[in-house]
Amino acid sequence: MKDDIILRVIAKLTMPFMVLFAVYVQFHGDFGPGGGFQAGVIAAAAIVFYAIIFGLAAGQRLVPEWLVEKMLAAGVLLYAGVGVAGLLLGGNYLDYFVLAHDPVHGQHRGIFWVEAGVGLTVAGVMLKVFYMFAGRGRIDEEEGA
């Protein structure tokens, strides 16, 4: 598809807006529909869109395989880390009340970091799933199966 000029131009124009929308959805989860999972999926969709138009190799140059696996694990550790931070600061596990100078700000901070972790992991998972499935089809075609 990278030979079609219309697709190439439109892809390059819309990709930044998709990523920006993902960031918007990520941070506005407590005021409207949104949050980590939705934002992660939209961000991954932007990269998948790029990979579909310009080819899987180009997509993997943009976001390499090793980075995707690290994103996966780092997001979960971030979430668990917020929980442990609550433990260390004197509350129970995943206690947001103690994370800042007063409970309301603590809740804000806790939810912010937790959703960041979720967004990171979900984006990683969606990209990994795409790379796995797309990479496999290629092997099938090469062997003429």
Binding site: G35, F37, V125, V129, M132, F133, R136, D140
Partner: protein, 123 residues
Amino acid sequence: MSQIAAHYSYWITIFLMVAGMYILIARGNLMKKLVGLATLQTSVYLLYIAPGKLIGGTAPIVAEGFATYSNPLPHVLILTAIVVGVATLALGLAIVVRIREAYGSIEEDEILALDRDAADPAD
């Protein structure tokens, strides 16, 4: 009659649930079974969310002048359930891809036949 019509969300839930289960059981193609599974899970989302909206209830953000708020908890539960469903579907599809590579087919009866023929009564 109006009683029955008023519960239309439950009727749709039941229809999706039963349709999903039928596809799961009746279709031999592994991919179609996963479609049935996804339909079954979708009916559950409806079961939780539809009763969450209270008649006359507004969005669940505290505001002046409103006394009835719709229930936000089912939405949170279903978000979790949707993510679980996505993970299950992704895993199921990955296994189907591997089965296709290993057996050359994704029809249940062909796979069972291949397994039966290949099972040499050893020793």
